[in-house]
């Protein structure tokens, strides 16, 4: 029993020592990483890496764009442009849907809707509509 207690004490002692070392280390690291010198050094290291990345990106785009055009395929910019336009269309549809819903509400009681319409209203998870369920 006494031996077991001793073992626990040794473990605790080691843990306390470790925690003490870690606390000191943490304070030291914090002082270092929050210093202006560290930030300056980090900036100096990151700058050339970012410049290299930007140059690589520009070079790969200048190679890919004519290649894709030759293959009759859209460029990266064109695909991104399409995605952005789709978002705008989505927004417009959302506004139209809301305006229609408001008109329908102001016109009177809502007619019974079929399952297809309910499915359209709500997306993902299990495909069922809370609005429809609770209506």
């Amino acid at each position: 029993m006494g031996e077991a207690e001793k073992k626990v004490d040794v473990k605790k002692l080691l843990q306390d020592a470790r925690d003490g070392v870690m606390d000191a280390w943490a304070k030291l690291a914090l002082n270092l990483t929050s210093s202006h010198e560290y930030q300056r050094l980090q900036g100096m290291i990151v700058k050339p890496a970012l410049l290299g990345l930007a140059l690589f990106r520009k070079a790969s785009e200048s190679v890919m764009s004519p290649l894709l055009a030759q293959m009759n395929m859209p460029s990266r910019e064109e695909v991104l442009g399409i995605a952005q336009r789709l978002t705008h269309i989505e927004m417009t549809l959302d506004d139209l849907g809301a305006a229609l819903e408001q008109l329908r509400r102001s016109a009177g009681p809502r007619p019974q809707r079929g399952p297809a319409a309910r499915d359209r209203e709500v997306k993902p998870d299990n495909g069922s509509s809370i609005a429809a369920k609770e209506a």
Partner: protein, 357 residues
């Protein structure tokens, strides 16, 4: 001898459990965000979810509550795991609960800015929420950058769109006291070229954001967490909790380039919101226009958004009903830590309960 024979299998079992736990937490993802919910609206990558109510309609609060989390982490932190989930807690208290999840921005979203989130996405999500809930008013809870977006929305649109009460958690709004804000030092113009970063990546990569946040407390984040895990490998409760949090922490998402640039230039460097010089899409953001009931929750041990970043907020807003709540805990621990269910959650809930019927 007999004693040795009895204790050896126990020790072996314990060791085996520890190894199993270690393998599990380092090689698998914990199931998080499990509370049943349904998507009721989507726009681009954003999705508005409604959590399946657990109380019958007559026992629920009349005014729905919308949750908005930050842009660069998953919103599943609000619903970490059964038994330690703010979402679950609020559902059990009878709230009609909605969550606006921002999703993961793609390269096509690199130009999206804070104005897009605050004035295009939130108002549309609110419109849908009101249509589904049938309520003309709603309450809003924003956390971290979600709190900042909620503040912008509340100041610019809240009064006309039925926002009744606003809860801000660890909101990064005030950048006056720069020496107290480690991230402000890290992103100073002379050390950090935001345009060059975005030129290289388009969006701000999740890894870089994560690195920046972890470097605010490097030893605790890179070593301390694992030491704590090793100390408790035979404690299933601690292991489960650690696993869930680690899964969430390591699942960061990029931040849309335009929003990141604005965050750094207008907020961290310009402190424009507090100075009253911030304009979003040509509209001046005046905090005095924020009239909703306001609860500002400050985490006293927050090293990412220190208390000074929202401590002056109550003096600036136009709300008549405004409260500041200081709670112990860090930036995330304040809402997702083991003590949150007995500390922050009941306090937040009792405040909002009085304003939900």
């Amino acid at each position: 001898m007999a004693g040795t024979q009895e204790s050896s299998p126990g020790l072996l079992d314990r060791f085996s459990t520890m190894v199993d736990n270690l393998v599990k937490v380092t090689t698998t993802k914990a199931p998080i965000g499990q509370t049943p919910r349904q998507a009721i609206w989507t726009l681009n990558k954003a999705t508005l979810y409604r959590y399946t109510p657990v109380k019958p309609a007559e026992e629920r609060h009349r005014i729905p509550l919308l949750l908005i989390f930050a842009l660069m982490n998953r919103s599943s932190i609000l619903d970490l795991r059964p038994g330690n989930s703010f979402v679950e807690y609020m559902l059990n208290k009878g709230y009609d609960l909605y969550l606006l999840d921002w999703g993961v921005p793609g390269p096509e979203d690199a130009e999206m800015n804070l104005g897009d989130y605050a004035l295009e996405y939130i108002p549309r999500a609110v419109r849908k929420l009101k249509a589904v809930s049938g309520s003309e008013t709603f309450n809003l809870l924003g956390w971290c950058i979600g709190a900042m977006l909620s503040t912008l929305y509340a100041s610019l649109r809240g009064n006309v769109e039925g926002l009744k009460s606003l809860i801000l958690l660890t909101a990064p709004l005030d950048f006056t006291d720069r020496e107290q804000i480690s991230l402000a030092r890290m992103t100073e113009e002379r050390y950090f070229d935001v345009d060059r970063v975005l030129q290289a990546f388009g969006n701000m990569p999740a890894g870089l954001i994560d690195y920046g946040a972890k470097m605010l407390k490097p030893v605790e984040n890179f070593v301390g967490g694992y030491v704590r895990l090793l100390d408790n490998l035979d404690n299933p409760k601690v292991v489960e909790s650690w696993h869930a949090m680690n899964t969430w922490v390591n699942d960061a998402i990029p931040l849309a380039g335009g929003a990141y640039r604005q965050f750094i230039v207008d907020f961290y460097r310009g402190n424009k919101l507090m100075n009253g010089t911030l304009t979003i899409r040509g509209e001046k953001v005046d905090l005095n226009d924020l009239r909703a009931n306001l609860l500002n929750v400050i985490a006293v041990d927050d090293h990412i958004t220190p208390p000074c970043q929202s401590a002056r907020l109550l003096d600036k807003v136009g709300s008549l009903d405004k409260t500041e709540l200081k709670v112990p805990g860090g930036h995330i621990g304040v809402m997702a830590g083991s003590g949150a269910s007995k500390g922050t959650w009941p306090k937040v809930e009792s405040w909002i309960a009085a304003r939900s019927d």
